[in-house]
């Protein structure tokens, strides 16, 4: 449906019963706003993790956050379907708890990123297996829940926006206050320690933050893994690895990529829509490949 500029403006400002108000205010606006924030949170989460883990393949899914969130999501949906309204909180809690478990496993006089990522992969496999088991044993119900695996912003409303907003604000705070500390961390633990960073504590803080960011995003949109992995790389290819620029670029790119792709997915079919995660893969991947081929990599 398309509206004139005037209709749109009045839809945002005036709370009447018009179709424009209904659609623009209640459907489109929360969707665009929360979708963008989902993108920003995922991109920021991936950006932080790739730095902290010193591995360009790190992303929320590599440290098990995604699988923790989706596992709790599954359990909620399949075993206690009447508690569906707890899903968002469940996903965030799942992400957070998984992170703590993995941290505990990998910890031993400081945490080694290698161990942490590998533990994350192992835990993810276990959760994945649980999900598979659930799927085999509750095949009917789970048909409901498979949607969780393909991220989509359909039906996202103001309540989702208010759920993700605080996390997005945290992200902005990080953007403003942490780049220099992050840059210093990239010089290696010894150098960073010598410059006054409590590396162990800072790393823990970052991991927790990024798991919360990812958990919040997943709870709103389901899995859009690709954003957390690829957006930080695109940002890096575009503006280099100084976090002063890398954080804001990732956030902005994550925001716009999700909003643009979601809009495409909404209008591309005559009826119905294509999930944002699918469109992102089709749009983002070739763009990324183009950059990768034509720019120097780190």
């Amino acid at each position: 449906m398309s509206f004139t500029m005037k209709e749109s403006l009045s839809a945002v400002l005036v709370a009447d019963d018009s179709a424009a108000r209904l659609i623009i205010w209640h459907v489109r606006l929360p969707r665009i706003l929360s979708g963008g924030l989902v993108g920003s949170c995922l991109a920021l989460s991936g950006c932080i993790l790739q730095g902290v883990m010193r591995n360009y393949l790190a992303s929320p899914s590599t440290i098990g956050v995604t699988s923790g969130a989706s596992f709790v999501g599954y359990i909620t949906l399949v075993v206690f379907p009447s508690l569906f309204y707890l899903l968002p909180i469940g996903a965030i809690a799942g992400a957070f708890l998984t992170t703590l478990i993995i941290y505990a496993i990998a910890y031993e006089k400081g945490v080694s990123p290698v161990k942490m990522i590998l533990s994350g992969m192992a835990i993810a496999a276990v959760f994945g297996a649980f999900n598979d088991i659930i799927r085999s044993f509750f095949p009917d119900r789970i048909a409901n829940a498979t949607g969780f695996l393909v991220g989509s912003l359909n039906g996202v409303a103001w309540k989702n926006f208010s759920l993700i907003l605080p996390y997005a604000l945290v992200g902005i705070v990080i953007c403003f206050f942490l780049p220099s500390k992050m840059n210093v961390l990239m010089l290696g633990d010894e150098m960073a320690n010598a410059l006054g960073v409590r590396t162990e504590r800072f790393r823990f803080f970052l991991i927790v933050i990024s798991s919360l960011l990812a958990g919040a995003a997943i709870s709103v949109s389901g899995l859009i893994n690709f954003v957390g992995l690829i957006v930080p790389h695109i940002a890096k290819l575009l503006i280099g690895s100084d976090y002063k620029y890398l954080f804001p670029t990732s956030i902005a790119l994550g925001y716009s990529l999700v909003v643009i792709c979601d809009t495409l997915g909404r209008i591309i079919l005559p009826v119905g829509e294509i999930s944002v995660s699918i469109v992102i893969s089709f749009v983002g991947a070739p763009f990324f490949l183009y950059l990768l081929r034509n720019k120097q990599t780190a």
Binding site: S180, V184, G188, E190, A194, G196, S241, D242
Partner: protein, 258 residues
């Protein structure tokens, strides 16, 4: 004690590296640690950056164990350049140097006017003017090493710790770095502690030389007293001709095989 080790022992697993070492580094002086490969020089310095935890004993600064200081407060006083350091490849020399100002940054503030001045001064001091906008991965080994040294100097420390700082440098820059260190030491009264393998430069630019052998401090004192034929034989298992460098008023050696 101003700054030093108090009864420090270090082991890796069951392997003892140094045992019960106590050193008080004299304030405002340059002390060079020498010793054979693997004798524990780097390990000792790593206890200062807390990359290695001493088994017993502690590192003391101004009579308090360094663990009692806030990390940033300590970082304003003590700068440390490890022997081997990783670098993000695509940052510019200037950016790397600016990281030395990290401990001075206020939460949420960028670099101040003053920070930029200090960075400029350091770049000038270390002869990196023409390289300051190049990224690290495009530099030769020696150029990169100078950028790192510049970063630590930029920290304006009271104590500067350098582990083999002139590795990879050509002789011109070796001399320049040593001169720089001497200048910093003399003008700003900075206490400098470094590890060097070049005995001649050590003898010429240090107030004190400290040698480690068999898990212990083997000798410690003015260059003239440590750089002797006997002692070098003990420490490095080499003979040597010891001459006098009259111009620089220090001994210099020509090492000879056994």
């Amino acid at each position: 004690m101003y700054f030093g080790f108090e009864n420090v022992s270090i082991s890796y697993g069951k392997k003892k590296i140094v045992q019960d070492v106590t050193i008080d580094f004299p304030k405002g002086k340059t002390t060079t640690i020498i010793g054979a490969n693997g004798c524990g020089k780097t390990s000792l310095l790593k206890t200062i950056s807390r990359a290695v935890h001493p088994e017993t004993g502690k590192v003391v600064f101004n009579n308090r164990p360094i663990g009692h200081y806030k990390p940033k407060a300590l970082a304003k006083k003590i700068a440390y350049l490890p022997q081997i350091h990783e670098s993000p490849s695509d940052i510019s020399v200037r950016t790397l140097i600016s990281y030395g100002r990290y401990p001075y940054r206020k939460f949420g503030k960028g670099l101040s006017e003053q920070d930029h001045e200090i960075i400029d001064k350091t770049i000038c001091l270390t002869g990196l003017d023409h390289l300051q906008d190049r990224t690290l991965n495009n530099l030769s080994g020696g150029e990169r090493q100078r950028a790192w040294i510049a970063m630590t100097i930029c920290q304006e420390p009271e104590i500067l710790i350098l582990d083999e700082p002139i590795t990879y440098l050509d002789i011109g820059y070796q001399l320049e770095v040593m001169e720089l260190i001497r200048t910093l030491g003399a003008q700003l009264n900075i206490t400098i502690i470094m590890v060097l393998h070049d005995i001649n430069l050590a003898a010429r630019y240090s107030h004190h030389i400290l040698s480690i052998k068999d898990k212990q401090i083997y000798a410690c004192g003015e260059p003239r007293h440590v750089i002797t034929e006997d002692k070098l034989l003990d420490i490095f298992n080499i003979h040597s001709q010891i001459h006098e460098d009259h111009r620089n008023t220090c001994p210099f050696i020509i090492p000879e095989k056994k």
